[in-house]
């Protein structure tokens, strides 16, 4: 087991501030979706975080550790909820802009680059600790894939009149 630090410091503050800021924004922005749909859009981000972190950061691959130690802690659990406002605003802006299909890849690229930027900040604050040669750039294709799935989900729900 690797221990990176044992104090409540930069990484924990990063998570707490991101969570507060994100959820305050969700609460204060004008409502755009029915409550059930908003709940699904919020959980989309959390689910994606769990899905990839539990695929990429566990044995035998274990490309990165989250937070202070390689064990699963409460702060690790909370850190996944940072993704919730992110996915919510991804859908929010997508629904607001009503893009032409030809602009969808550009939209996904912009959000993926923003995701890489935020991940870079998280690495800087000690939320993620890369190992076994993993680099920030490897996250870009993951974000592109995940956000493409989100767009597919949005259209799936829209076609079934949930939106």
């Amino acid at each position: 087991m690797i221990i990176y630090d044992t104090h409540f410091n930069a990484n924990e503050w990063f998570i707490m501030i991101s969570l507060c800021f994100g959820f305050v924004c969700v609460a204060f922005f004008p409502k755009r979706f029915p409550r059930q749909v908003a709940a699904v859009f919020l959980m989309c981000g959390v689910y994606s975080g769990f899905f990839f972190d539990h695929s990429l950061s566990v044995e035998p691959i274990s490309f990165y550790d989250v937070n202070d130690i390689s064990k699963f802690q409460l702060m690790d659990f909370l850190s996944y909820f940072m993704y919730a406002p992110f996915s919510y605003f991804f859908f929010y802006a997508y629904d607001r802009l009503q893009l032409k299909p030809s602009y969808i890849p550009l939209y996904i690229l912009v959000w993926s680059l923003a995701s890489v930027g935020i991940e870079w900040l998280a690495v800087l604050f000690g939320v993620f600790h890369y190992q076994h040669g993993y680099q920030l750039a490897y996250s870009l294709p993951i974000y592109l894939l995940v956000q493409s799935c989100w767009v597919a989900l949005y259209h799936g729900l829209k076609n079934r009149s949930f939106l």
């Binding site: 029915p34 409550r35 059930q36 749909v37 709940a39 699904v40 959980m43 989309c44 959390v46 689910y47 769990f50 899905f51 539990h54 695929s55 566990v58 044995e59 035998p60 691959i61 390689s70 064990k71 699963f72 659990f77 996944y80 989900l153 729900l157 079934r160 949930f162």
Partner: protein
């Protein structure tokens, strides 16, 4: 071998969900799939990484087989269970719930037999307890997502 077996089992669960008469909407099922995956992965990770009650093989094939079960099979079973919970017949509901718990125990035995997991500090009753807690969680989440709709309708 282990990956093939687990992929097959995951596909069977998807098949059952596809053919099952649904009592939940698509939106409710998507929400449930997300939250059940999160809950189940968290519980499993605590037992695996923190308590070491369950050990997962570090071989790439077995590890991917474990992920297939954790990320697809178990959450889909919980979506199936949540649909079953709203069937009108009490007898049918309890028979199906008991069958799924038994199948959950068998699934764990298959995973042990295939060498995907080893359970140094574990017994069958803990598996049953774990599945019952998953069911309870799924039930609460169905209540929650339906409550959101109800409150919205009330406001409207």
């Amino acid at each position: 071998m282990s990956l093939a077996v687990c992929t097959f089992l995951a596909w069977i669960t998807i098949l059952i969900l596809a053919m099952l008469p649904k009592t939940l909407t698509l939106l409710e099922m998507v929400f449930l799939f997300f939250v059940c995956t999160i809950f189940e992965l968290s519980i499993f990770t605590i037992f695996h990484l923190n308590l070491h009650w369950i050990e997962v093989s570090t071989s790439p094939e077995k590890s991917f087989a474990n992920l297939t079960i954790r990320l697809i099979c178990v959450p889909v079973i919980l979506v199936i269970i949540s649909n079953v919970q709203f069937y009108p017949s009490n007898t049918l509901r309890w028979i199906l719930l008991t069958t799924i718990v038994v199948l959950g125990v068998i699934l764990q035995k298959i995973m042990q037999w295939l060498g995907i997991i080893t359970t140094p500090h574990w017994n069958m009753w803990l598996t049953i307890l774990m599945w019952c807690s998953y069911f309870a969680f799924a039930r609460v989440m169905v209540w929650f997502i339906r409550y959101l709709k109800k409150t919205e309708d009330r406001v409207a």
